[in-house]
């Protein structure tokens, strides 16, 4: 696949269709890649494609199209971007919210077979911090990890997939200019939502306790927000000082306010790419909250984020028969 990607990118530069290409480059640590910005045909060899390309690249797009740049009469760049299913859905969202112009994008869609969760690899073999993984190689559905004592273990990729990648329904983006790999739609809605259904069965106190437990680990580094393509606000409510909505401390009520605010701002927008969960250094289970919201929006408004460019987002529409009970009856 990587050869195909390079070929397309080379062509795009040759035909002068893009100014920048955003893809993945080799990481400096095992089981990692790093977002890679390419500005000409010479650097294309840097690109890689494997099961560690988990960063959602759509997050980088809005910063190229800031309104203040337009005011300065700068010409917006034409950007080529590699998009997995989830990145593609984020791109749809950003276009719909008028953060990025479709005509300046060249989307190379790729059918993704799921990304690996580093924690799962670490825990599959060794207990935390006991042994350091020094290298990892991937080959036909298997991952070969080597530890510092030169011991090698072979693991099945299937068992290492990130939670968001298990039962992924949209492995290829829904809009693209060229697609690498075939477009296969999977209907695994039930399996995907199973964990939320399980969680919902728990009594309210238990769910509340879980929420508190999770957010109490937060150090307010805002990596979850910064890694999310939807969080492009020029100034986040959490940062504002006039008025100041939240205290600055890691007091649990301040953290909860931030978390609830961030999560609720994702209603009808979160595409469940897992970027926030992966970015969080404290291992907080943010997805259980964002996914609940996804389910609610689906249930109440029949809407799924990042699927179509035409369908109006639920936060921007009003229908007289919109559900409202949830506002008054939690």
């Amino acid at each position: 696949m990587i050869e195909k990607i390079k070929e397309v990118v080379k062509k795009l530069f040759k035909e002068d269709k893009i100014d920048i290409f955003i893809g993945y480059g080799e990481g400096t640590l095992p089981l990692r890649t790093t977002p890679c910005f390419i500005t000409g045909p010479d650097n294309i060899e840097k690109l890689v494609w494997n099961s560690y390309c988990f960063n959602n690249l759509a997050v980088y797009l809005p910063r190229f199209f800031l309104p203040q740049l337009q005011k300065k009469d700068l010409k917006f760049p034409r950007i080529g971007i590699l998009a997995k299913g989830c990145d593609g859905r984020s791109i749809v969202g950003l276009i719909k919210e008028h953060q990025i112009p479709r005509e300046n994008l060249y989307i190379i869609g790729i059918n993704c077979s799921g990304m690996i969760d580093i924690e799962k690899v670490q825990n599959a073999v060794y207990k935390m911090q006991e042994v350091e993984i020094v290298s990892a190689k991937e080959k036909s559905g298997k991952v070969l990890v080597e530890n510092e004592d030169n011991k090698k273990v072979e693991l099945k990729k299937e068992e290492l997939l990130a939670e968001v990648c298990k039962n992924c329904q949209y492995t290829a983006p829904l809009i693209y200019d060229v697609l690498i790999g075939e477009e296969k739609r999977k209907t695994k809605e039930k399996e995907r939502a199973a964990f939320i259904k399980e969680f919902e069965k728990k009594p309210l106190e238990e769910r509340w306790k879980y929420f508190q437990e999770q957010v109490s680990k937060c150090i307010r580094c805002y990596a979850c927000r910064q890694a999310c393509p939807n969080c492009y606000c020029k100034e986040c409510f959490a940062d504002q000082t006039r008025p100041k909505w939240i205290g600055a401390t890691e007091n649990i009520s301040d953290i909860m306010f931030f978390q609830i605010g961030r999560i609720l701002h994702q209603a009808g927008r979160c595409v469940d790419c897992g970027a926030c969960v992966r970015a969080c250094p404290m291992g907080i289970d943010l997805r259980i909250f964002t996914y609940k919201l996804i389910e609610d929006v689906k249930e109440f408004f029949g809407y799924e984020a990042g699927i179509s460019l035409e369908e109006a987002p639920p936060l921007a529409t009003f229908k007289p028969d919109d559900k409202q009970e949830f506002i008054t009856e939690p």
Partner: protein, 371 residues
């Protein structure tokens, strides 16, 4: 320090040893919590995770916590003629219990101990004395634990460190398996061990040999490094070179690399006001300081709305410049100890070592390379 000062304590006695010091000291040890290791108050139920690599959150939080109340105040009864309210500080010394315990930091990694010696230069330098940090720091005894197994992100050897680096610690420990070898570094450390002599016995030559062997092995395990010679001088010329146009590109602007850095010290000061229930008038409040990060846009946002570090580029440059140029200028020290936390935890794998390598490999920085 001669070998005569080297002592041995049985590993299985360490918990009892620490327990016996509980009355006298506030003891901080690495403790497993929520799937991570973090420095927390000693608890004799929980064993020391001797094999731990390093904590995610650096032990700087003991002396320089993420949130610290500087003082509290309450609304006065009078209102000034211009309508503004008056506040009076609350005297905390009366209400708070007489603690006055000394701090004992047990088992921190040598790089983090070195980081304390850097923070000391800032918080306890000639220009400013930070009472909040110093109050705790001055009463502390630091016992570090040499590294038998460095991580792939460790590069302390590029920054005056090594797995048995002594700087910043009063005593250093070596994990020999069943025994722990102790080596006093400062006078304070020496006295500490002398006073508790009954717990220790003399180290044998075989113990010392074992220690040396372990340290040789450990040093070999550190496989990444950057030659940082003259980096300060190099950066003197580098403020406006085109280098900065690219290295920040993938940065997300989060707080991870600075919050988790043992030497990053920037903070923000705010007032938190409590309102009487239902009322709008502030009744009492606190002045607090919290960790802040140069990677946040708000960090330099002026009241006028102007922001001198408007984009990721200026902010990334600041992070590198501050550690590798401004601090050498002000404190004669690079403010990085090579612990690798920023590398390990960066969500986009922006590797500081890579940045430094490419910076050091730039030829002489002549004018025409500038933006």
């Amino acid at each position: 320090m001669e070998n005569a000062k080297l002592k041995i304590i049985k590993k299985k006695d360490v918990l009892k040893f620490l327990d016996s010091l509980k009355k006298e000291y506030d003891i901080f040890v690495p403790i497993e919590k929520n799937g991570d290791i973090r420095f927390s108050k000693f608890n004799s139920e929980k064993d020391i995770p001797w094999n731990y690599r390093n904590t995610k959150i650096p032990p700087k939080e003991i002396f320089f916590p993420q949130t610290e109340t500087l003082f509290s105040f309450e609304a006065g009864t009078s209102t000034l003629s211009n309508g503004s309210m008056t506040f009076t500080p609350i005297d905390e010394s009366k209400s708070s219990a007489p603690g006055n315990k000394n701090y004992l930091i047990f088992g921190i990694r040598p790089c983090d101990a070195q980081a304390f010696s850097l923070l000391d230069k800032l918080f306890g330098g000639d220009d400013f004395q930070d009472p909040y940090y110093l109050e705790k720091r001055k009463q502390a005894i630091i016992i570090s634990l040499a590294c038998n197994k460095p991580q792939i992100t460790c590069f302390c050897t590029s920054l005056k460190g090594k797995p048995d680096n002594e700087e910043g610690a009063d005593i250093i420990l070596f994990d020999l398996g069943e025994n722990i070898l102790t080596k006093p570094i400062t006078k304070k450390g020496e006295e500490f061990i002398e006073n508790l002599d009954s717990w220790f016995k003399e180290a044998k030559k075989s113990d010392v040999d074992k220690k040396n062997e372990l340290m040789d092995l450990s040093l070999k395990k550190i496989c990444s490094g950057v030659n940082l010679q003259n980096i300060k001088e190099k950066l003197d010329e580098a403020f406006d070179i085109s280098f900065w146009n690219e290295i920040h590109q993938k940065c997300l602007g989060c707080g991870i690399c600075t919050y988790l850095c043992p030497t990053c010290y920037c903070f923000d000061i705010t007032d938190e006001i409590d309102h009487v229930a239902g009322g709008l008038a502030p009744s009492r409040g606190k002045r607090i300081r919290c960790w802040d990060s140069c990677m946040f846009p708000l960090f330099t946002l002026h009241a006028s709305g102007h922001n001198p570090r408007l984009t990721y580029k200026e902010r990334m440059r600041q992070r590198i410049m501050h550690k590798f140029n401004y601090c050498p200028e002000n404190f004669k020290e690079i403010f990085c100890v090579g612990c690798g936390r920023c590398i390990r935890n960066c969500p986009v794998n922006l590797d500081l070592r890579e940045v430094l390598v490419s910076l050091m490999s730039l030829g002489s920085l002549c004018k025409d390379k500038k933006i």
